[in-house]
Point group: D2
Chain length 291, copies 4
């Protein structure tokens, strides 16, 4: 089903060389074309296998499937890169089950064989698009699969900002910040901050305030089609920053407008046929199993 395969590792991730090594052997034995991501696998001894190392922006145009070897952080990074090229993505964890990298290195070859036969599940997930502008000038335009966060920076004090949903004023808050989370991100940082878990089938976003000064400020779930705008308030001490997926940041202050919408394309995640999101939740969150 997939002939041209891109492999992405953890940045500076010697820990994943071994897994990539096994992956390569298995795929090359099946006569697949395999390309390695330059951003993460530049130091991998690829000559041994005669496979090419390709720059990320070029790579994503040449592959039919992306295999990520690493943790959820690596997966987020690659997902944002491939989403606009319709490349489906699959995640192999490095020994510790992730919400996104849900395939164990132990049985990855069996699962890959099934995937190559099309015996797998495709699941589509929303991404967020974040634009930051000042004086009508666009300064930042990025995607997020998990969440976008407004957070105080170095200051010891809370920040103040105003939130608008679909053009209507929602509230002004004093807090350490706020998380706007997709269903995918609802089991990540938003969960630590007290947000609800959102079923991945939902087209919604949650707004989760971080240590809000007003105790009645509570997580709020809105339609995925909403347009959220955030305006730092003039009382806002110093600066805040906007963070996409815990990886991309931009400093903002009074005058910056941050606009959050659903991205026009969905990311296609590949799961083994026996994948069950509830089972993953039970395993990761140590919920009760059947008695």
């Amino acid at each position: 089903m997939f002939e041209r395969i891109g492999i992405f590792g953890k940045y500076n991730g010697i820990a994943c060389w071994d897994t990539i090594d096994r992956l390569l052997q298995h795929l090359l034995n099946q006569q697949k074309t395999v390309l390695l991501d330059a951003a993460s696998c530049a130091d991998f001894p690829h000559q041994r296998y005669g496979v090419a190392i390709v720059e990320r922006q070029e790579l994503v145009t040449q592959i039919e499937i992306a295999i990520v070897v690493g943790g959820d952080g690596t997966f987020l990074d690659v997902a944002r890169s491939v989403v606009d090229y319709g490349v489906p993505i699959l995640g192999i964890n490095l020994g510790r089950l992730g919400f996104l990298t849900d395939i164990s290195p132990r049985n990855m070859t069996d699962i890959l064989d099934e995937v190559m036969l099309g015996h797998c599940k495709f699941e589509e997930r929303n991404l967020i698009r974040v634009k930051i502008s000042k004086d009508e000038q666009l300064e930042f335009d990025q995607l997020a699969l998990n969440d976008v966060v407004i957070h105080k920076t170095d200051s010891p004090r809370m920040i103040e900002f105003e939130t608008e949903v679909d053009g209507r004023f929602l509230n002004t808050q004093r807090s350490d910040g706020m998380i706007i989370s997709t269903p995918t991100g609802s089991t990540a940082y938003a969960l630590s901050a007290g947000g609800p878990i959102l079923d991945p089938r939902l087209d919604v976003l949650s707004l989760v305030s971080i240590n809000p000064h007003t105790m009645s400020t509570r997580p709020y779930v809105i339609p995925g089609t909403s347009v959220v705008r955030i305006y730092p308030h003039k009382n806002c001490n110093g600066m805040a920053h906007i963070i996409c997926d815990g990886q991309l940041t931009h400093h903002i202050r009074l005058g910056h407008v941050t606009t959050i919408t659903r991205h026009k394309n969905l990311i296609k995640m590949i799961h083994p046929n026996e994948h069950d999101h509830f089972k993953l939740l039970r395993a990761k969150l140590r919920w009760g199993d059947k008695l």
Copy 2:
């Protein structure tokens, strides 16, 4: 726009006679046909106005609009009664702003005049249908606009039960109970139990556990189209009960199956044109206003 009007009061609610009195005078002056709900207004001195008192099941078939005078509890009761007859509903509070009874007695006549001209907003909200059966026998079949709750009864101990969503096992929990809430109910009991606020435009349900023994059991938001089933576990001490809108209850124990689905009909709520759900949230939850 509306000629045949039903008025519903608070049960045993002498406190609302005065407001009903003013309502009646205003509507009768406009040549409207007004009928009073027998269940709540039996003791109201209706002869003075020459209006009829009609039994609820009869009343709902004869009116074009339901006006509720009372609190949110009264509104819930009436909404469940009228939803299957397509009658829109409007709520006048008794001096204290409610999430459902959002019209103040002070300006109710002005707002009613606008409503009668069709100058108002119609909003549709989901209800939940709850069926309880044992040994394939249906024992209980009711609606809920806010929430359905499984809760321990008299026992000092936690209960144990299993939850299934769309035929798939979600988890087994030990807790005081669980709330299955609509967006409408998300600002009621579910909020006290730590649940998120759900935008009323959403077709979702939240599952909010009450004092769960496992700390990683967190509110979970699922599609409104989901079928939720709850099975008391055999370790479950004594009995639990199922409660709809805090008003209708049924005892369950091992062997009972409680099935929760979205009701096929939506309730039509009437709001003044200037109604703004965010403003209501800010007022009720004392959120920050614009600085």
Copy 3:
């Protein structure tokens, strides 16, 4: 160090016969005098060992140490029985580590040998005394090692009550109830309800409201010497009950006064020398260990 030993099992606990069996053999081999608690071990085949079964109120006057075989619930029950007789207590769990029954059956004989030589830690913990009266008549007078809870009973509605601390009005709340917890109970029900963990060295109580209607109602920690009084409010729907350690209950309604004070005697808990409360917390709550 201890010659006269009382053994207490889990009520109706055939599951603990085996552990009691091993205990008895070990202790009798050391020429100890062992007595069995009638309330929990009546069905144990004691004739085989020639040990006596003694009624609880008699037993507690004749022993120098109480050994509990069961779970934390069993321990709570026995602790309330022995506290006024100065008998130290030690808990052996049935295969699952408890906060109170922190000795595993696997190494219990080694630990007991150490304890008999006085190689162990003694720790003193507070109990709560709960008195309920109406019209100056005392109706209930019991102890609690974990917590005393006021909770709604069968009613689907919240209860309302007033809390007074040291003769001063604290607040009126509408909620499902409130937990008054000792440090010992702070890792039990109070934790599920959002209360803080209290170090066992502290002489304090926490007041933890259960699903309070007002979101700013938060856990409150007061001196252990405080006198707490609870008055059901006249708006209180139906009845509430008072529950000690999840085991002893009493129904209350308007007119009942519940008075909570620290009990005059402390319970002496015995731990192995290597006992470390922080380690217990890390194990039970799955906190992070040293990296």
Copy 4:
């Protein structure tokens, strides 16, 4: 009772000139000696009254009482300055009730008259002492009346650190940080982060993690006599900082040891005779009053 009075304002606080003006007239009329704090009142037109402006470190040695005009932030700053000189302190708010500045400008002169006659309450509160060292070199040595916070700085990622209490390992956590709060600080930042309210009579500290990755990491209350040590972990991304009372900061990284103990001196707060801490809590937190 007090003859030599120091007045402290809000930094750059023209908003408090008017209140200080009224204060001065009132106190000078009573032949009191009044000195103004140079750090906060340098720009106040003091010549008009013939009162001296004195540097803070000098001022605190010359006064018998400190009057703070401002918000709780101003009070914290002054309290740390005067605590080692045994000077009692009293706070006048600028129109909005504070937990520390609990006297309204409206009736401040009446209350001051009472205080001067000794008709008032003295309350003693703990402060925290924070020392930060690296390679046995002391880098930072400050006090905090509310709280000391370890928090991530500019990084988008969580930090990791180890906590030790009284020389024993408590846990390793991944989080945005942790608050160590006095009873005084328990209604400030610690409350936003989910911590309990601690009665001001208690000699305890609470450890409140900020958005911990592990959901079972919960607020922990320890004796006030405890020694808490925090060690950044080597996985700790970039740097963290330590913040006293939201005002004094110091950057730390791997190798820094932060030691938190109770300060040897207590701060003496002055309250009007009718002061009631529960009433203050009810007012600030909008708890239920008597029905």
